[in-house]
Amino acid sequence: MKKINSPAELEKLRESILESMDKDKPCISICTGTGCSASGALEVASAFEALIKERGIEANIDTKLTGCHGFCEQGPLIVLKPRNILYCRVQPEDVGEIVDKTLLKEEILERLLYVNPVTGERIALEEEVPFYNKQLRLTFGNNGQLEPTKIEDYLALGGYASLRKALEEMTPQEVLEEVKASGLRGRGGAGFPTGRKWESCFNAPGYPKYLICNADEGDPGCFQDRSILEGNPHSVIEGMIIGAYVVNSPEGYVYVRREYPLAIKNLSIAIDQAKEYGLLGENILGSNFSFDIKINRGGGAFVCGESSASIASIEGKVGEPRDKHTHATEKGLWNKPTILNNVKTWANIPLIIEKGARWFSSIGTENSKGTMIFSLTGKVNNTGLVEVPMGITLKELVYDLGGGVPDGKKLKAVQTGGPSGGCIPERLLDLPVDYEKLTEAGSMMGSGGMIVMDEDTCMVDVAKYFLLFTQDESCGCCFSCREGITRMLEIMEDVSRGESSLEQLDLLGELAQVVKDSTMCGLGQSCPNPVLSTIRYFEDEYRAHIMDKECPAGVCRDLITFTINEELCNGCGVCLKKCPAEAIQGEKKEPHAIIQEKCTSCGICLEVCKYDAVNKK
């Protein structure tokens, strides 16, 4: 690998890479993101490799081990190029047939195609699958096209062209103006305008200035930052170099969770490759500008995703937020001006420089520009990562992309924004998703979590779950957060046991408001959101728990009882064997009965009974 010493050399290298590639050559793109790897993608990949070697057709077929494609629910996924045939849930035993029939004879294997859960039709091409074709995959789309450990793939797709453009054609001031004009807002949760943040750091006195990429993604069910770092690390690196060029920063840090080993591995490889090519390090592309990136592994505290806590953690201190009365852009890392942005924010920068602020700001709504990646999870047919333009409605997300709720159940609510977000009820499903609209509805954008809940979900239980999470993850510094969450949880537990009162419910609302108002950092200020939003939209459920001692969804264990219908029970004894509390008695072939004093309402008897003889009430 030869160091690139000028912008012209970069373009020459790109041309030579493109020349050496054959676009029509069949290529098997195998998703080896964490999701597909867990369902066996690596075994599929090695089966392909062995088979291709055995047949001696290495010269005719390429294989690419790519990052996450987003459709994790259907994994392991493979896409056969150039036709873009998508095969889902591929297993190693399918490999022979795929090579023989699809690659060599161009026959499509019906059984591996995606089945639309709504219409039942089988879809062959990736771009025709509703999950994909409603998306606008700007930052995420290249994940399926490139091998993250090969910088050449990124260069072939036009990578580092934005860096070249910024360094060669634009002054730092012009780049800053472009980012400001794009209207890009922080993708980490709070949605602060990125351009304004950069400008504040640009104007702040002090040297050196630092950049931080926040990859401490911790929301339950969220994995978009991980997927970008795993699948397209160079886009983040390129964004950071451009940012560093604006504020003349010599050093940047990627603060990434230790629980993301593949992301750390791919990012390290990418940084090394960029350095070898002279795209990172001393005198980038032969200019006077130098910038280096270091990786900092987080220890796993959720609160370290908060900006001041992650700065403290990088400095080697306890990962606790500090009072942010002075912005990090003025006094951040080691008290020097610092820009801290989320992975997704950095990945958007090359796009803005390449295609221009005007193009970027044409996507989205008035105050929220561009696209957002959501992790669509929960009770929805198509789970996975979706990148959509801001302003798309929740309905489109859940029904068009998500394919609706499984098993014909009714949708109850959509929870957005992770543990700090709120639950939006079904009747507000036409809500356009952007920063302001979600905040108005009592939720937030957060880092893009989206959990779909069906009629079997108890909202009291949901709020309780998120409080348990934040109670565990609060740093415990602020009294209002530490004690406030504990006391909210205490009341919630009483509610779910049917031992609360309406006065306590009022107190819960009052306390939640005070915690939101009086806590120091973002975690504490947003942790009451699940409570406040469920009280706002689902107060009747709280009342049912308190007044009628009933859990309408049948989830809260203390409020449900299981009984066995003697007429339907034939005494098969399965429930008796499976009951962990030994709460079922009865002779063989005689109707069984549940001893209520021993029953823990775990529901296993209901699950195992084949004769619908167990009733839940």
Partner: protein, 228 residues
């Protein structure tokens, strides 16, 4: 000097002064539990909250850590502040009812009932002892361990510390373990024996001017209009 508005009055203080210091300088008492003049402000007890900014777009910040800025509007006893403070005092009372400091605060702020289950803990994790040991005694024998609800003050690995000189400064500065209130009974949590102060202006003006009853300032200041 930096000019700003403190409870409706234009005042000025030196650059770098915190809101708490400025308010104390002008004779306005803001309650604190984790603040001490000789130690780095920590901002954890949240009692010193004040409201800053124009009404409608205002927010609450801890005055012990916030430095005065030119032209800012600060209200130390607005309805929003007092509401939060009272709730926090109620929480403190439920957590640690045997502290005289906390019982006195409750009396001052007319907190007359506690709606949470009493816990009878000794420590409110204000961190005064930790900072005292580090900054004044230069010993660093104790620190916080764990996170969230499991957080507590302890020595490294919870073993007897060789750095501890048994100076007792941690106990001297502790707001809960030295001065004990004998008032609270097991069933009531709250003492209120010293209950004698009330801010009469708050309900009428959304601002506290003094703690006298009847309030002299309210009667003199006829220009001040009661809130709608």
């Amino acid at each position: 000097m930096i000019k700003f508005t403190l409870n409706g009055t234009e005042v000025s203080v030196e650059k770098g002064t915190t809101l708490l210091e400025a308010a104390n300088f002008y004779g306005i008492e803001i309650p604190t539990l984790c603040y001490d003049e000789g130690l780095t402000p920590y901002g954890a007890c949240r009692l010193c909250l004040v409201e800053i900014g124009e009404p409608g777009r205002s927010r609450l910040v801890s005055s012990c850590t916030y430095r005065v800025r030119e032209g800012m509007i600060v209200r130390t006893h607005s309805e929003r502040v007092v509401k939060s403070r009272k709730m926090l005092i109620e929480l403190y009372l439920a957590t640690c009812p045997s502290s005289k400091v906390i019982q006195d605060l409750a009396s001052n702020y007319h907190v007359t009932s506690v709606r949470f289950r009493p816990k009878n803990e000794d420590c409110i994790l204000c961190g005064l002892c930790v900072r005292m040991c580090d900054e004044q005694m230069q010993a660093k024998a104790i620190s916080f361990i764990n996170r969230g609800g499991r957080r507590l003050v302890s020595t490294p690995f919870e073993r007897k510390s060789e750095d501890c000189r048994l100076c007792g400064a941690c106990m001297y500065i502790c707001p809960t373990c030295q001065a004990r209130c004998q008032g609270p009974q097991e069933e009531s949590t709250i003492c209120n024996a010293c209950l004698n102060l009330s801010p009469p202006c708050l309900e009428h003006f959304d601002d506290v001017m003094c703690y006298m009853d009847p309030c002299v300032a309210c009667e003199l200041d006829t220009k001040r209009k009661p809130k709608e």
